[in-house]
Amino acid sequence: MTDLLTSPYPALLVGLPVLLATLSLFFRTRGKALVGLLGCLLTAGLAIVAFIEVAQHGTVIHILGGWEPPLGIMLRMDSLAAVFIGMTAVVGVFISLYAWQYFRADESGPGEFPLFWPLWLFLWAGLNGLFLSNDLFNLFVTIEVIGICAVALAVLSGKTTAMFAGLRYLLAAITGSMAYLFGVALIYGSTGTLDLGLLGQVLEPGTTTTFALLVITFGLMVKMAGFPFHFWLPPAHSAALAPVSALLSALVVKGAFYILLRLWMEVFGVSITYAAGQLIGLAGAIAVIWGSWQAFMQTSLKLIVAHSSVAQLGYLLMIFPLLILAPGVTADSADWLSPAWTAGIFQVIAHAFAKASFFLSAGLIIMALGHDRIESLRDLVGNMRITAMAIGLAGVSLIGLPPSGGFMAKWMLLKGIFLSGQWWWAPVVLAGSLLTAGYVFMLLRLAFAPAREMGTFKPVPKSLEIVALILALGSFLIVFPADYMIQFLESTGVFGSGIESIVEGGAYGND
């Protein structure tokens, strides 16, 4: 453990945004925004530097307080964490730029929300902390930080619907984190350690472990809005301010997924069975179909996009059954693990870009129209060319048409599905794509249709449109560094690992 390089970056990645957030509290409205934006740029810059550090030296660690685990807490930045942190930085910086301009827009803008900045910086710190954390309890604290920030941001708009949605979200988040913590308590009680690395070595299969896995998975599923615990997501994401919706759907839900992936693959391998993987995959599959169908049925743009998040997160869950091998299969012989992991990572990143772009575009449409009912999108192409383009591109990535990042994810997912022989997931992937195409083209169809009445669109700042377009393009551009990224991910960390099932798995309690 100590042969890994110690680096100050992990600590700075959490500390700096908190420091800047605290600093911004001392300023008034405009000052807050300025400090906030500068803080975002600084944090993103730091994240990139840290990414390069990991790229050069492999996993870096930071032993907080100098106390080695299990007594102390260690931050670990391996390639998986680095990729997530990098994604947060890139997407985050664009959303920050958008927010800066969006809140300043005088006429049709939503007004200034100075609190956005400290909360977003805290959220960023929480996300970085979560990706870096290597300690079960510390993960709990970070998800609480994220949860409170996320809900606070979600209710920032002050709308009544946002309040209701926010409270629902908060209650779900608290319930989820309490369930998670219950699992942590049991794990600590049965092993006496909280460090993920050590736990992976000492955890023994048994009822307690299985139950802990169950509650932890339950808690995290609630947090990441996995089916059937997705109920809180659409109202919360759709009622928030545009930059906030983008943050919530692009980044926040990925945090819980990240922990789930880490814990399943690194810690709980001993008590995970093939059936557990199938079950979680089933939840994902239902989410894909159900979420897409719900999105298809909505009549307001933001609700469509929010429901689509439920579906897109479902794809993430669908990689789990591929990562858990059938009894008798060894990880070395399973050539579908790498495609499945690649699918997961690309789905996360492509969705982050595409969904952020989608929500930011929706924000612009609200700015232009005053509402987001889709029947008013008529002649969007004529009035807001760039926004329409952004929606089109982001939609194409969500559907998974080539050569987008979403295509890469679906390609790899299908490849993994075929290679593993679990062909029954394939129709779900395709049906999801079709349904996604259904709602994306429903929007585009309206966008191309001629307007019934003229002049309903108020002008919006072009710079905002361009930010949305850049993010949409980003969901395509991420395909190009894929080689490098996968190589990087394979160099350190859990990427590409699989769980070999014990032949006699736990009889019950597998989620």
Binding site: G382, V396, P402, L414, K415, L419, L430, A437, F441, A482
Partner: protein, 498 residues
């Protein structure tokens, strides 16, 4: 001699860049837009001619680009691809001229021409694809870039047609996706022409590969409008005439037919396809579609709809030719890719001219139109004779080879299908011709668009005459070197060389 060359990429870029740039222009910048459009179209034809000459000298052009991981983007020039690319490029040039005339003063022309260029990019991309993945990418790209063209008019009917179009093509694309991934998993990244890969694997995974063949075929059959997946084609005739002309004579439908040709000849190989009895299934569906399309066409009064059903029918000649193994049938199928294209585009141009000049959209209104628009209807008549299979127009050549091939392989029922289809073709095209030339005009109408002495605008007239003459020339000079037939024959012979 195989070297990497950017020429194939340049062929794509020659329409991609104008398309993208036009999208960024303002609506008013007509001159610049037209310049971009035409220079792109001319450049494309020039580049293809250049590559063609090089290819004849034995130069091979390939372009590789590793997109990411195991996804390789590959362009490769082979005879078949070049054949199709040349068709697309030439007809694009002609249609661009036509569209400039046709849409004069219309709305959203920027968007139209931009997507028009993108669509041709996709079409040439399909032609020059070196592997299955690249083909798939362009296949989906084609769907996306044609959608705005289909809904271009923006009317409810157009939007509705666009919806139908999308459901069919996206559905087909999704099915194709499944097949492409499946093929990739079983056989790796297949480059066109590497039929030995499947030939080796077929004994290992007979069931899986068979299922995949039909999955892939289904995905392609949507765009090729093979019954029962043809529903989108007649509906999307609401698009403006140049769109119908280019897209539904060349780009979209031919992409599907071309895909089937590739699938059978260059992925699975005729040997495997024949051995596993895939072709019989294809033949049955194709034959049925030929008859079905013709029968439906018979009862359409809407000029373009009749043409559309005729397309459904004619396209399946290609599929039928592919489905009957033999040098002659293959020649017929491949040459029909081109022949059908130039003949059908002539007919759509003619229909567009009539509608644009006099506002006639139905066949029953066409009494005596030939006297007022002799050139247009003359070209139409040539094309119609070709469709029916009268010598010496191009269509005769295709049918002749198909028929000969069928006799040679003993598939006499195919001859019967061809004859029946020809009779039906005659039954629905001849009345138009007859009506146009021999009926008395019932009443005088004023022209919608007048342009002096010519029967209609020059930009509308020239393309139709050119393509009409081309369809005649392709038949008359079929025996000459460099004619579509001789090239097709060469391709077909290579296919059956041991």
């Amino acid at each position: 001699m195989e070297t990497t060359s950017v020429l194939p990429l340049l062929i794509l870029v020659s329409s991609l860049i104008p398309g993208t740039l036009i999208l960024l222009l303002r609506e008013e910048q007509v001159a610049l837009r037209t310049f971009l459009n035409l220079s792109g179209a001319v450049a494309k034809v020039g580049l293809i001619a250049w590559v063609f000459v090089g290819y004849l000298r034995g130069q091979e052009y390939t372009f590789f680009f590793r997109l990411a991981l195991d996804l390789t983007f590959s362009l490769r020039v082979d005879q078949l691809g070049l054949f199709f690319a040349a068709l697309s490029a030439v007809l694009w040039l002609v249609t661009t001229l036509y569209a400039i005339g046709y849409l004069e003063g219309g709305k959203h022309r920027r968007r139209f021409f931009a997507f028009f260029s993108l669509c041709v990019t996709a079409s040439t991309g399909i032609a020059l694809s070196g592997n299955v993945l690249t083909f798939f990418i362009f296949y989906e790209f084609l769907t996306l870039s044609t959608y705005p063209l289909v809904v271009h008019r923006g009317t409810d009917k157009a939007v509705e047609a666009g919806r139908t179009y999308l459901w069919y093509t996206i559905g087909g694309g999704t099915v194709l996706f499944l097949g492409v991934v499946g093929l990739f998993v079983l056989a790796g990244p297949i480059y066109f022409g590497q039929t030995e890969i499947i030939a080796d694997l077929i004994s290992v995974y007979p069931t899986q590969l068979s299922i995949l063949f039909f999955i892939l075929l289904t995905g392609l059959a949507v765009k090729a409008a093979i019954f029962p997946l043809h529903g989108w084609l007649p509906v999307s005739m609401v698009a403006p005439a140049p769109v119908s002309a280019l897209l539904h004579a060349v780009a979209v439908v031919k992409a599907g037919a071309f895909g089937i040709v590739r699938l059978v000849y260059d992925v699975y190989g005729i040997g495997v396809a024949e051995h596993m009895n895939y072709l019989n299934v294809l033949a049955v569906f194709a034959a049925f579609t030929i008859i079905y399309g013709s029968l439906r066409a018979l009862f359409q009064d809407d000029f373009k709809k009749r043409l559309a059903y005729s397309t459904v029918s004619q396209l399946s000649y290609i599929a039928l030719g592919v489905a009957i193994p033999g040098v002659l049938t293959s020649t017929g199928a491949i040459v029909h890719l081109v022949h059908q294209g130039i003949m059908k585009i002539t007919m759509f141009f003619a229909a567009g001219n009539v509608a644009e000049t006099y506002g006639y959209k139905n066949i029953s209104q066409l009494n005596g139109i030939g006297r007022r628009m002799p050139f247009t209807m003359g070209a139409f008549t040539i094309a119609a004779f070709g469709m029916i299979g009268l010598p010496p127009v191009a269509g005769f050549i295709s049918k002749w080879y198909l028929g000969l091939g069928a006799v040679e392989t003993g598939s006499y029922w195919v001859v019967f299908v061809l004859l029946a289809s020809s009779a039906l073709n005659a039954a629905y095209f001849l009345p138009i011709v007859y009506r146009a030339w021999f009926y008395e005009p019932e009443y005088e109408v004023s022209r919608l668009r007048s342009s002096g002495r010519l029967e209609t605008q020059a930009l509308l007239l020239i393309p139709v005459v050119v393509t009409g003459l081309l369809s005649l020339a392709a038949g008359v000079f079929a025996a000459a070197g460099g004619s579509p037939l001789s090239i097709a024959r060469e391709i077909a012979e290579k296919l059956y060389m041991p």
